[in-house]
Amino acid sequence: MNAQTQSSGRFLYTASVILLCAWVIVPLYFLLINTLSSPDTVNSFPKSFVPEFDLGSLQFFAGFAGMLTALKNSILVAGMTMIMSILIGAPAGYALSRFDFPGKGLFRLLILLTRAFPLPLLALPLAVMFIRTGLDDTVFGLALVHTTLAIPFSVLITFSLFSGIPLELEEAAWTLGCTRLTAFTKVVLPLILPGITASAIFAFVISWNEVFAAAVLTIENRTLTAFLLQNLDTSPLHLKFAGGFILVVPALIFIFAVRKYLFAMWGIANR
């Protein structure tokens, strides 16, 4: 009887794992098939389950008016977000891990609270403010908003990275002739550089995937997500697939590359 429950438990376990994997992988697979098929195949029926490796859809995507500019904008905004969120987030993470100051707990809470307000709630006042200051419809303005979204994560990731470096290493550097700054650049920085890179990539992905603020705050200088959304009802099926694929792949690769550090952020042991 025991063996029976064990085997049925194992069956349930395996089935759940397969189901969950399928949940994630099947849509991605369809995306891949349809992107790598010619426009005709994409629009015809029945569908094939093997990609044709025809670059027609991707060519159409690249040729679509405004698409490449949108792609360029997306990269620009994400790049700026990446740099700004690290420049602001890493010092905050360092301060949180190394110094005791009044209101430290509240500060940590406030960082998380920035994610508590839904973006649609903020979008209208933001749009008005951006129009007043001339930041509307600019790559920089959108990067500012995305930086705000990315900062909680960059602070938390860098906080856990800095906390993982024993203070004694810094103290040893101080006694060996370093100032606080040189101890940081010669000892701490080399040790956390991989983690900082991961945090930067994560910020890049957040910006890359963000659609709402991008759609509201830009008109001419749309990012790829906003541009695809704008043309969603009018564009042909193969364009949607190609666009979706171009959006998903970098995010997927990057997140996979930095998964170790994202686990670390949530306090799961570094593997």
Partner: protein
Amino acid sequence: MAVIEIKNVAKRFGEYQALHDINLTIADQEFMVLLGASGCGKSTLLRIIAGLETATEGEVWIGGKRIDHLPPKDRGIAMVFQNYAVFPHLTVFENIGFGLRMQKLPNDEVTRRVERTAGLMHIDQLLKRYSGELSGGQRQRVAVARALAMEPDVILMDEPLSNLDALLRMEMRAELKGVLAESNTTAIYVTHDQVEAMSMADRISVMHEGRIVQAASPIDVYRDPAERFVAGFIGNPPMNFLDATPQGAGQFLVAGQSFAGPSANKPLEFAIRPEDMTLSETGLTATAKVVEPLGAHLLVTCEVEGKLFRAVLDSDLRVSMGDTLTLAPMQDRIRWFDPDTQIAVK
């Protein structure tokens, strides 16, 4: 060349007073051990000397220069940490040479000094390795070599051996003592291990609750504890204590026996080390409770007048549980303490 003077140093963490008015002078090239239980303030004092912690009050002077306002790098010190603090992203060579590179010394000088100190610490085969490829003992050697390579006036060590296993600790203890004696630096060494303190120190400062209770040579600390705390802390097993009632004219009654003591005419505490007693015809009457044959000697835990009393006796003696022993203390090894002030009475 590097006398260390600590003048009226106090340290408070909020309400908590970690150090009370510490005054201590450490002679040039002296090996000073700060000994105490955890939380006694010994590490805090060391970190104040290093500049990793600021004193709330007082001054620290090294080599006739006041240094308590200077950052660690300008104090002429090098430090060895309990957790080694070997930089994981650098090779052993670059770890040892780290401080020298910071001083912008020419390459051949760095190489010369790294190779010399690595040789001293027997790690010259490991120079190309990273700390992840080293054992705990090897890492500690790197940490010591890194400090020595700086050729500092003062070397500070914060429980450097406490993360090593017992055998390695004994080996490193002797080695460290030899290397430091040759390096002509003044050394301050923090430990909670009294064997380490006794075996390495020129002088021991016993610390208790943020105060230096006694600063003296190891044998003086052992033979003549300045306070009851030291008598009960140093020695394994520590001193035995019994109540003593004055009988006038420097005589005291201890457990029914009369002993010559100080001239003070008030109740005192009689103290004797377990090994300073012999079995004899006359003496303190003790009932053996536990007998532990330790090979080199026999440790007998007994009761004298209802109080715990230990004696270290010759291992050839046959003593069994429940035996009544007559223990004669060696007269010149008896010490007396004032139960009110806890201070030794002569």
